[in-house]
């Protein structure tokens, strides 16, 4: 009997202990399902016309929404849900939308905005980005500017939405400089520098002189470009400040200078100098104007481009018999060939993300734009035609712009393609265009 009396509490203690010990084991046994396949379809986004009260506010609101819709669509990462399918008209930017109405449209994100003309004549545009299925606000902000500046506000909102939904910086509030070509082909062809928004809006000629110009390159840190001009009779590299209009020759050498490109910090330029019948790559410090020779080879070394960190340079050279891509340290040491395929490789450009190098490749009489890793692996072509040439990266490293002559005699046009090679689009320009150069995000 005594033993039985001892047993009862012992049994309870043991049972409790067993349950306590088994609990974590049971919790650990939670089922896990591995989802290793998804889709890469564009995200459906709804962008109704921005709300306004006065006629001018309504007009601006409609235009801003149109630019945002066009930007997001052009990125190919988003699909705009047809405005005709919208069930709700949100009356005010500060009102929470009826999420169920937007879920029916399949929109996963919703941009609601409002434009207001303020008493001082300025325009105030505010917006909210909603996560429709999360039923929560993802972003809210407003901008104030002069009414004629509405397009930049639309680009800035596009960049903010893009960044919030992708995790990457946008590229919509940027500009592109390119060579605008007109007139008969040959020596009498007029080639001027033109600047426009990345979507082709607001094109204007840059007053860089009347001589033929080629290879404009944007500074990654300032509204400054460098380009090659025949103004002095011989090819010379110029520096031009877009904001001040100041223009100067970069080093008045007794020979030709061409193929310039800025360093990532914008404080130096690499270019090709042909001083005695041999093309070599030089680096010029823009503050001291000191010049250092980086290559020393009897073959043609040209088209240098810095890596993201500025510690390496990719260039093309025919030292191996055909034009191939090589990398070297920023001081010219440790030269290594990275391209190994058939054909010739030219105009290499290091991605601002640092992970890829874009180039022009010629094989069998056709040209294409391709990318490869900095060690030469993973080469893949993104475009091909009679003549595709001159790649330039968007500042976030996801889109490449280049120029294309679709057939012999057709004028050059600007095109863009993203890293998947799936989103090939022509960029509208007032006249024929070549040699595009993409700016960094505007400040």
């Amino acid at each position: 009997m005594k033993i039985l009396r001892v047993m009862k509490p012992l049994r309870v203690i043991l049972a409790t202990l067993a349950v306590m010990l088994m609990a974590p084991a049971l919790a650990h046994a939670e089922l896990e399902i591995d989802i290793t396949r998804g889709h890469l379809n564009p995200m459906p986004v709804a962008v109704p016309d921005f709300i306004g009260t006065q006629a001018q506010e309504v007009g601006v609101g409609k235009q801003v929404a149109e630019v945002i819709r066009a930007n997001l669509t052009r990125s190919s990462l988003f699909r705009i849900v047809d405005p005709a399918a919208y069930l709700e008209q949100v009356p005010d930017v500060n009102t929470q939308p009826r999420f169920a109405d937007w879920k029916v449209t399949q929109a996963q994100a919703l941009v609601i905005g409002q434009s207001t003309l303020m008493p001082d004549g300025r325009l105030r545009i505010e917006f909210r980005l909603w996560d429709v299925f999360g039923e929560s606000e993802a972003l809210a902000s407003f901008y104030a500017t002069t009414p004629e500046n509405w397009r930049r506000i639309a680009h800035k909102i596009s960049d903010a939405v893009y960044k919030r939904l992708t995790g990457e910086d946008g590229y919509f509030d940027t500009r592109v400089v390119f060579v605008s070509e007109s007139g008969p082909r040959g020596a009498r062809r007029v080639k001027q520098l033109m600047i426009m928004d990345q979507d082709g809006a607001n094109p204007s000629i840059l007053p860089t002189g009347t001589a033929q110009v080629i290879t404009p390159r944007f500074s990654p840190t300032a509204q400054q470009i460098t380009f090659m001009s025949f103004e002095t009779g011989r090819p010379k590299v110029f520096l031009y400040n877009i904001e001040t209009g100041r223009r100067e020759v970069l080093g008045d050498y007794n020979g030709m200078s061409y193929a310039p490109r800025f360093s990532p910090r914008g404080d130096s330029v690499v270019m090709t100098l042909d001083l005695s019948g041999n093309s070599e790559i030089y680096r010029m410090d823009l503050r001291s104007r000191a010049t250092a020779r980086l290559t020393n080879n009897p073959s043609i070394d040209t088209s240098p481009s810095f890596s993201k960190e500025g510690d390496q340079i990719v260039f093309n050279s025919d030292r191996g018999g055909s034009r191939q891509l090589y990398t070297m340290g920023a001081d010219g040491t440790n030269v290594q060939r990275i391209s190994t395929g058939d054909g010739s490789y030219t105009t290499p450009v290091w991605s601002p993300r640092g992970d890829l190098i874009a180039f022009t490749k010629q094989v069998g009489g056709r040209f294409g734009i391709g990318v490869m890793r900095p060690d030469g692996t993973g080469e893949r072509m993104l475009s091909e035609s009679y003549l595709d040439e001159g790649p330039t990266w968007s500042p976030n490293g996801r889109v490449i712009m280049f120029f294309r002559e679709a057939r012999p005699g057709a004028g050059p046009k600007l095109w863009s393609v993203d890293l998947t090679g799936q989103n090939l689009r022509q960029v509208q320009t007032p006249a024929d265009g070549s040699d595009p150069a993409w700016s960094p995000l505007l400040p």
């Binding site: 049971l26 989802i35 396949r37 996963q108 299925f133 972003l139 995790g167």
Partner: protein
């Protein structure tokens, strides 16, 4: 004699207990402790769920953005939606979803078949097939059949925009805990398991976590067996590495 018997029993219980402690810790894949999320328990399944959306507090953009004239500023939190005397569109949507929801094993089979390549092994079909009841169960305490986990897997794949086009996708693996009612609808908001929260993570990880959470919400309701009477708890492991590697 009896003391010896009880002593032996006690030693055996302790050995079993020690095993319970030691074995789970051997697992290299213990889920990290999760944040506490309020969950409404639903006793009866009504036409409209009584689970309110857990909306995080409105984000206040802190990053500085420049404008042509003046910096943008954060807007005040929005006013709550004004009540209206119109039928709740959520009811309509739920009704549509119920109509779309698979009701037989054939429906689940079709869901799975769509995700399989040609030539894959054929599964037996047929409503309330006895064989399915005796099919191996997956996961202690979850009481799910392989057919159900396959169907959920296939279902979620169509809702998940995988971040396979991002650089370094191996850092973008996300785990989300889901709790489903017996009819396959979400019993509670999905819960982020890894990363544990959206605070302090880099933008790409945050976007990947949001995409996984969005996939779960877009996928609601989930396909479960029509004769299911118990709830489902599971962790969905969103892993974009395979897709990135196949690009």
């Amino acid at each position: 004699m009896r003391l010896g018997w009880f002593g032996s029993l006690g030693v055996h219980v302790l050995i079993v207990a020690a095993t319970m402690i030691a074995w789970p810790r051997e697992s290299p894949d213990l889920p990290p402790p999760s944040a506490v999320v309020p969950v409404d328990i639903i006793d009866t399944i009504s036409d409209v769920t009584n689970v309110s959306a857990i909306a995080p507090p409105p984000e206040t953009p802190t990053e500085e953005q420049t404008t042509p004239e003046g910096a943008p500023q954060t807007l005040a939190p929005p006013a709550p939606e004004a009540p209206e005397a119109i039928p709740d569109p959520r009811q309509k949507m739920k009704q549509k979803e119920r109509e779309r929801r698979p009701t037989s094993l054939d429906d689940y089979q079709r869901l799975i078949d769509r995700s399989k390549k040609k030539g894959a092994d054929e599964r037996p079909s047929g409503p309330t097939e006895p064989g399915d009841v005796t099919r191996p169960r997956v996961g202690l305490g979850t009481d799910m059949t392989m057919t159900e986990t396959d169907a959920i897997n296939s279902h979620v794949q169509r809702c998940w925009r995988a971040p396979a086009d991002q650089a370094y996708p191996e850092r973008l693996i996300v785990k989300v805990r889901i709790r489903l009612n017996a009819d396959g609808s979400l019993a509670a908001q999905p819960e982020l398991v890894s990363p544990r929260s959206l605070g302090g993570v880099d933008p790409a990880t945050r976007v990947a976590a949001e995409a996984a959470m969005r996939a779960v919400r877009v996928c609601d309701p989930f396909p479960v067996a029509p004769n299911r009477t118990e709830r489902v708890n599971a962790v969905l492991n969103f892993d974009p590495r395979l897709m990135a590697g196949s690009n």
